[in-house]
Structure formats: C-alpha cells, structure tokens
Symmetry: C2
Subunit: 371 residues, 2 copies
C-alpha cells in the first residue's frame, strides 16, 4: 500500500456539482411547464415525481415512469485495464450502464419494461473491434433480461470533435410500469420510526470513477496494484454493478410496504435524505466496506466524511419501510443472494444524515439534487 496522496475533493477530480445544479433547476422548471401536453390522452403527470429519479405520469389503469441515465467515465478504466487483464470488460460496463438506468426507475416503484441504448463514439472504428463490440452487445442484452426488460434498440452515433477518439459514451433510457398503482413510491408515506434497510453493493458501481482514475494515476503499479485481498485495483473497479429490479419486485411480491427507495450513487450516503420530507436519518449499523472502496478512500486520502458522502461504501440501495418489516426485507434480499442490514431509522428533526458508528453528520443542504 503506497503513501496516501493529498486529499482529492470532488471538484478537483473534475466533477463540480455546484456548476451543474442551477441549470438542472432551470430545466426542471421548464420541463414542468410542458405537463399539460399529456392531457390529450387523458393522462396527467405526477408533479411530485419532478426531481425524483424517474418521471411518472398517470395513465388511468397504471402509472408509467421514464428515466434517462448514463454510465459516466467508467469506460476509461476498462480501456486502461484491458492491456493488463486481456479482456475488454465491456460486458461488465454494459451491465453497469443498464444498472444505472433500471436502478433509477425502480425507486418510484416501477418495473423496467423497455430499455433503449445510446452508444456515442468518437470515430467509427470503435465498433471495428469485434470482440469489444460483441462484449458490449452481449452484456447489454443479458443485463436487460436480468432486469426483466426488453431491449428496444438504440442509437450509435459517431461524434468526431465531441467524443474523444477511441472512447465511448454509454447511456440509455427506460420506460417502466407501476402496476398495481399502489406500488407508487414517492416518499409521501415515509414516517418517523421507519427502518432503513441497506442492501449490499458489488463494489464501486459506477460512481467515483473519476476519483479512482486519479488515484490509480498516482500509484506506481497503477491498476495492477493489489488492493489488499489479492485482487488488482483495475479488476476490482470493473466488477459490474448489482441490478436491483428483481429485489424490488420480490419485496413488493412479499407484501412489504415500501415507503421510499434510494439508489445510492453520486452523492453517496447523503442521498439517503433524498425524500422531499423534513426528516432526519440515523444509521446505527454499517455494512462491511468492499476492499476496493476502503483502498480507494485510504489511497485517495479521503476523510470518512468525504468517503461516505460520495461513495456507496458497501450500500448500493436503500429500502425504507415499517420497522416490523425490516427483518422480512433482509430475508427477501438474502434469498436473492444479496446481503442486507436493518441499518437505521427515520427520525423527526431537521433534515440530515447521521452515521452514528463513525460520528459523521451531513446537513440537509449538503445534498442539492433538487430544485
């Protein structure tokens, strides 16, 4: 293990949320202004879904949801690791991308139905690498099936001058169904006393990769560095993201009262206070930290406050439900091979997330993902 590097803040790693969010707010307001167009079909938007992870509208017999998501920069890690591993890793990246999409649509209670792909490349030679292209296609189809979705085509533009030569921007969209309508989850039924069940991540998932690249660049052995359990950093980073649609479907099928769901991504555990409610969230139990994340936090010199505020730290998904149902939720997850923990409780009080065992606290204004 090398010496820790100077601490890397997220702004230093090239992600400055403060410069993006005002435009997001502007866009959310303009988007809300177009809602009346749905009236032509007798449908109506659920205004409360604006700012949630997926847009939801009411079609009468069912709700419908739609989401757009992208992988981020994880493909750059795969490109750098390929000479070491001898594998393209694009099957894993395809699953990561589909996971980013479907794990976001399920949080409103939707089952993903149709997924479309957007694969933008810098020059048309990208797809001439048949092994890599085949891995991407196979991984995408497999992840759609594992999520219960049909792959409905997509677009593969060559964008010379916009996308860097040799690289690819992986993204996609999904339309989902909330049926029966009682499955709608927008956080309005979240209550003081509800339990917070955290579900294991598979590793870094697809957030924190800019940071990981910076850390790898500063290590003498780079992506070949042993993270402490015999695994090379590159291989560990490229473990594909867990797909949670089957878990959410199983929780519903078990009759559990899911009051809020969070896909833990770019804002780490701060995202646990995503519900539009004045509530406080206290975590009393921590899942084990995947070796790749503890390595990254150490090597990157991240404080626990930075690490838990930006990385999933072992918790990829969170389920909020009545406390007497927490054990059942943990058992349902276990039956699907996913470790889960009855890890926290919803409390009255000013919005914030407290991670008791580490003495950490995030105030309500530290999230900033809403308008």
């Amino acid at each position: 293990m090398s010496d820790p590097q100077p601490p890397l803040t997220y702004a230093a790693a090239g992600v400055d949320y403060s410069a993006i969010d005002p435009a997001k707010v502007l866009a959310q307001r303009a988007a809300a202004g177009t809602a009346a167009q749905l009236e032509r079909w007798g449908h109506r938007e659920l205004a409360a879904s604006r700012g949630e992870s997926a847009f939801v509208w009411d079609e009468g017999p069912r709700y419908r949801a739609m989401v757009m998501e992208g992988l981020g920069t994880k493909s750059l890690v795969a490109d750098a690791v390929r000479p070491l591993s001898g594998r393209s890793h694009y099957d894993a990246l395809a699953q990561d991308t589909v996971a980013m999409i479907v794990n976001d649509i399920i949080v409103v209670g939707a089952a993903p139905q149709v997924v479309t792909a957007y694969w933008a490349i810098g020059d048309s030679t990208w797809f001439a690498d048949r092994e890599r292209a085949a891995d991407l296609v196979t991984g995408w189809a497999g992840a759609c099936e594992a999520a219960g979705a049909t792959w409905g085509g997509g677009e593969t533009p060559a964008l010379s001058g916009i996308i860097q030569p040799g690289t690819i921007d992986l993204a996609g969209a999904c339309v989902g169904v909330i049926e029966p309508k009682e499955r709608l989850v927008l956080g309005d039924r979240l209550a003081v006393g509800d339990a917070i069940v955290l579900v294991e991540s598979s590793g870094i998932h697809a957030n924190g990769l800019s940071l990981a690249r910076r850390v790898a660049a500063g290590l003498p052995a780079g992506y070949a560095t042993d993270i402490g359990d015999g695994t090379a950093l590159g291989e560990a980073l490229l473990r594909p993201t867990h797909l949670y649609p089957r878990l959410v479907a199983a929780l519903f099928d078990a009759g559990l009262d899911l009051r809020y769901l969070v896909n833990i991504t770019g804002h780490g555990w701060r995202k646990l206070m995503r519900a539009p409610r004045d509530l406080s969230y206290r975590l009393h139990t921590l899942p084990p930290v995947p070796p790749v994340l503890s390595f990254l936090a150490r090597a990157g010199g991240l404080s626990p406050q930075e690490a838990y505020g930006n990385l999933n730290m072992g918790a990829g998904f969170a389920v909020f439900l009545p406390p007497e149902q927490a054990a059942r939720a943990v058992a349902v997850a276990a039956a699907l091979g996913l470790a889960a923990w009855d890890a926290g409780v919803v409390e009255a009080g000013p919005p914030g997330v407290a991670i008791e065992p580490l003495g950490l606290h995030y105030a309500g204004d530290s999230l900033g993902v809403r308008g």
Copy 2:
C-alpha cells in the same frame, strides 16, 4: 462563390457507415432476443418494428413506441458561429435535437408523448454560461410543446476524458402512443401506384454537418461566407429542423391512409426505399433546393449522386399514400405552412430510388440501414 474543393466523400468527412453497421446488426439481433420480457404484462413486441426508426410493442388497447436519437455534431457549428452572430444558437440546436427524436417516432404512426433529455458535457463549466444554458432549456421546452410532448426530465453528466472540453453531446429519448391502433405504419400496406409526397425541409436539418464543417474550414470567409442569397453560411446552417408531428397528426385526422412515412436524414433520398419491401421508387418532381444545400453541394464538390444520396436537398419528410389522396396531403401540409409536392410514385421492380429529372439512380443495396 469560391472554387469548388476536391470532392468530399462521407468516409473522408469522418462518417463511415460500413464500420458501424455490422455492430448495429449484432445489436438488433441480441435486442430481438429479449422480446419475451414483455409477456409479463401481456404485451408483445412487433418484430417488424426491429430495424425501423422506432421500436413498437402492443399493449392491447394501443401500441406504444420508443426511440433514442441524438443531434450529431451540429453543436460544433453553433460554437464556431457564435462569435460571428453574437447568439448561442442553442435554442435552435435544442429544436434540432427534439426534431431528430420526434420526427423518428412519428414514422411508425406514433404521437410523441414524453421526451427525456441527455446532455453530456466535457466539463461542468459548460452550464456556467447562463445565456447558453437558458437558450438550450427554453428551446428544448418549446420544441417539446410544439411536438405535443411533455418533457420528462433527463440527465446532464460531465464526462471528462470522453467528451471534449467545451463541447456537448445532445441526445434524448421519446415514448409515443399509436392510438387508434389503425394508425400503425410499418410499410406492409405500401402498394404499387402509391404516391410519394415530399414535404419541405427548413435547410440542412441535422445531417451533413460534418461535411459542412469541412467545407467551411476551406472557405476564406468560413461561416461568414454569403451563400448567395445574402445569408451567411453559419446562420443558414443553424436554421432549426422542422418538427413534423403536427403534420402527421393532421394527415391522420384528415382520414388519409398513410402507408409509409420516412424522416429523411443521414442517407438522404436513399432513405425513400427504407420500407422492408421489394419495391421501386420513382421521383418525377423535385422540390426547390434550399440555398444552403445547393451552396454546400457546389462548394464541397459533391456530385448530384452524392448530394441527393446524403443530404435532404429540400425534402425533410416523405409521405406514401394512395395517389388519389396526394393532393389532399399537400393541402393539409400547406395549411400548416409546409410546402409539399406530389413528387413520385411507387412501382414494381427491383428495389431502388430513381430521381428522373436528374437521371440519378440508387440501387437497393446502397442503403444498408437494416440487418
């Protein structure tokens, strides 16, 4: 008018469809293999929509369609023209992008319902330019409303190392409704003797911009060059793409029997033979060529065969319907302010497009957009 440059082929301008299409075919086949997932809801895919511009599935009381599309590289033209014009032009680019999306979903007979945005940037400072960000947001919302769609949110990732600094990749997805189900258009009812009605484009739309950038780079005055009608090349290129959803809705509402629809984009008039049918297409009438396209063809040294085979040359959309309904279709378009022409006829014979007034012919194997 400067001397013509050496002819530019599309491969020389950085777009090599032959390197992309095999992967598209692979993806289409893998995607088709995921169709059974729809059975959970009692829905089924329309296999005939695989390879069409939009994916279509049967929900019982209605068909549903979904599409993913992107702008391509037109934003690079706006970035280069802004110092000359003093405007960001991102309101126009937003309309271009929405047009690429919704003009593709209407060809299967769908009305666009919900549009999501994907705006990927190279660094988070892109949105710090408030004027440009506001233009993009305003233009996107306006285009969604003009297309009859609700804007359902989206994603704005900063992709350092994938997207070039200072540039943006504009794309989006749309879900649409085909209702009543008789409006489904997949080309199976296309018949010998049907008329081909061509509808005006507004200019270059969003295809051929790589070529336009190469041409501009070779002109002494660049984007400030007068294209012959007093308009600067840059301004002319940035005229926003026509939105055709209202036209298609009006044609249906007029009771016309729409047998096939084509959004004329990257393959120019070759796309008129897009229907999966062994039919031949003869054009006897040409719409006037927009000055920006005749200038581009001349300055780029494109042969008529290349120009009509890659650019819209004044025809942005094509409607195939019984010949006795052609005049009515032209009148419906005129009422919406769109010039249209009863321009051709569907004939028996080997697949191909013949442009009679120019003595041009494209053989069936020159399209290559299907698996």
